[in-house]
Structure formats: structure tokens, C-alpha cells
């Protein structure tokens, strides 16, 4: 009888059989940068002081923001550089770029330098960017202040100069 019980036990036991599937998701590197509200040109115009002996002052522009989206692999960080890519700054002055972070950036948005004098050489303005996004549009990301600073009045000449400034994320 015990033998028969054993048989019954064997017959009602549950058996299993399995298969596996491999599901992989590749999240890519992303490095996109844009200027907000747009990359349109703006003017920095000099105005002489309305009295003899006064200096020349320039307006400045604080309306541009750097927006970016960045996805990076493990241990990788990104850098944003600025460079004058066409034209040259008139003698006797420099073009100062001041960078200020806005609030609300997500992830690891990096660290900015306070300011640089733009030149035809690439200069780092933000470094240590990891997986991050800044927000879209004006008021998000890093604010850029462009201002002309006179360093040598003796070299100033009247005229118009056009510059192109390129921001690169790598």
C-alpha cells in the first residue's frame, strides 16, 4: 500500500519547464546644446559720455541662455567651450562673457567659470557635466552676459565689427 501511495504522489506532483529571453535597452550618449531664446545677432553699441572728458560706455546683453541635454556613460563628463569663430574684437577692447547658472537644472549640470574674455581660442566655460538637462528656453540653463570692456582708449577707432561666437559641448 505504501508503494501505491508513492506512485500516486509521483503522479500528481507539479513539473516545470522554462525558457529565457534576453531584453536589452541601449541608452545612448547625448550631447545637445542650444541658445535660448535663439541664436540671433545682437548689438553692443558704444555711447560717448555727453561731456568733454567723459568715457565711452557700451550696453550689454544678458538675454541669452545656454540650454543643453546631456547623457553620458559611466565616468564621463562633458565640457562646454566658447570661441570667436569669425571676426575679431577691435583693438583696445575685450569682449567679456559672464556665466551665471539658473535654477532648476536637473542631474549633474556641471560647474561654470565666472567669466572669460572671449577670443579665437576655445575656452572652457562649463565643465563636469554629467547626465543632465537644463530646461528649455530663456530663464533656463546658464545665463550669458556679453559686455565690451575698454582696455586702451588710445586704440579705439569708430566703426562696426561683426563677430560670431560658437559654443560647443563635447
Amino acid at each position: 500500500m505504501k508503494f501505491i501511495k508513492s506512485i500516486v504522489f509521483i503522479l500528481i506532483q507539479t513539473a516545470c519547464f522554462g525558457q529565457t529571453a534576453t531584453l536589452s535597452l541601449a541608452l545612448p550618449d547625448i550631447a545637445y546644446i542650444a541658445l535660448a531664446p535663439d541664436n540671433s545677432a545682437f548689438n553692443l553699441i558704444g555711447t560717448s559720455y555727453p561731456q568733454a572728458g567723459g568715457g565711452v560706455s557700451f550696453n550689454y546683453n544678458i538675454l541669452k541662455f545656454i540650454n543643453f541635454t546631456s547623457a553620458v556613460g559611466s565616468g564621463v563628463t562633458r565640457t562646454i567651450r566658447a570661441q570667436i569663430t569669425s571676426g575679431s574684437i577691435p583693438s583696445g577692447m575685450s569682449l567679456k562673457l559672464t556665466i551665471t547658472p539658473a535654477t532648476g537644472m536637473m542631474g549633474s549640470p556641471g560647474t561654470n567659470v565666472s567669466s572669460i574674455n572671449l577670443s579665437s581660442s576655445q575656452q572652457v566655460i562649463i565643465s563636469g557635466i554629467g547626465g543632465s538637462y537644463t530646461g528649455l528656453g530663456s530663464g533656463y540653463g546658464y545665463n550669458l552676459k556679453f559686455e565690451l570692456v575698454i582696455s586702451d582708449y588710445s586704440q579705439l577707432r569708430a566703426g562696426n565689427t561683426s563677430l560670431s561666437i560658437t559654443f560647443t559641448i563635447t
Partner: protein, 167 residues
């Protein structure tokens, strides 16, 4: 002695009969490598527009259950996952899009029709059950939690489909 021989005969017939009623499961589309859509340039400054990625390839991700036509035992398909990548923080989901088809009369599958997405867990969870055989049950997956904030890498999980049945 004669009794024992009868028992062996009975046992042999029973084993032979029930061994044919051991349903097996097979998969089509058992190795999938997916990527989110190309990041749109009009979203610079933002994250992916959709943190979910649906992996739906009509006819190319299917499950089949093989079982002898005469078998009346029921079976249960369960799913679980084991991550091959550490700390993914991604969530994987699976659903049954349709019931496939069966060549056996009286075959059943439960639930009928499309099932809701259920999250693939590390522990085994019931997926669907049925009787007899079943072909081309279409499956889709969903990965949620996609973000540029996650490390760019290939995340892999192994999905285990287990069919259990009573002899």
C-alpha cells in the same frame, strides 16, 4: 509476484501516458536589443518626451505552448527577471497582446485577450494559464524609467518564462 508485475505494468503505462502531457514552452524573439527613439533636437534642454519604451513587434515576439492533443492537464506560465546590469533602476513590463491560436478543440487560455502590462519582478509571477496547446501568443514588453539622467549604457535583463503543470 503477479500483483507486482501488474503494478509495474500500470506504472509504466501511466508514466508513458503522462509523459506525453508535459507541456513545453518556446519563445520567438528571445533576444531583443532596443533603443529609445533618436533624441529630438526640439527638446534640447529637456529629458526624453516619453520615459516609457514599448517593444512591440507584431508576430516577432511570441510564446508557444506545446502539449499533446489528448492531454487534459492545465498549465500555468509564470514570468520573472534577473538583471544582468547592476542598479538599472529601470522597470520592465510584459503583457500578452492576444491569445494566439490552438489546433486542439477545447483549448483554453486565461485571461482571454489582451492582458494589462505586469511588471517583471525578481520573483516569479503568474502570467497566464491554459490547457492543451497554443501557438503564436503575441507578447510585448515595456521599459519604463528612461531618462538622460541614467548612465548611457546597455541595460540587460533576462526574462524567465516558466511553465508549470500537473501530471
Amino acid at each position: 509476484m503477479k500483483r507486482i508485475l501488474y503494478l509495474f505494468f500500470f506504472f509504466g503505462v501511466a508514466i508513458d501516458t503522462f509523459s506525453q502531457c508535459s507541456p513545453t514552452i518556446s519563445l520567438i524573439g528571445s533576444s531583443l536589443l532596443e533603443s529609445p527613439p533618436v533624441f529630438p533636437t526640439n527638446r534640447i534642454g529637456l529629458d526624453y518626451g516619453n520615459s516609457d519604451l514599448l517593444i512591440d513587434r507584431p508576430g516577432n515576439i511570441t510564446v508557444a505552448i506545446a502539449n499533446a492533443d489528448a492531454c487534459i492537464n492545465s498549465w500555468q506560465v509564470s514570468v520573472s527577471r534577473v538583471d544582468n546590469t547592476i542598479n538599472t533602476n529601470l522597470r520592465f513590463w510584459v503583457n500578452k497582446i492576444n491569445d494566439g491560436s490552438s489546433i486542439s478543440s477545447g483549448a483554453s487560455i486565461n485571461p482571454n485577450g489582451p492582458s494589462a502590462f505586469q511588471e517583471l519582478q525578481l520573483s516569479s509571477q503568474n502570467f497566464f494559464s491554459g490547457t492543451k496547446n497554443r501557438q503564436s501568443i503575441q507578447i510585448s514588453y515595456k521599459v519604463s524609467g528612461i531618462s538622460v539622467l541614467k548612465t548611457a549604457a546597455t541595460y540587460t535583463t533576462t526574462v524567465y518564462y516558466t511553465i508549470s503543470y500537473t501530471l
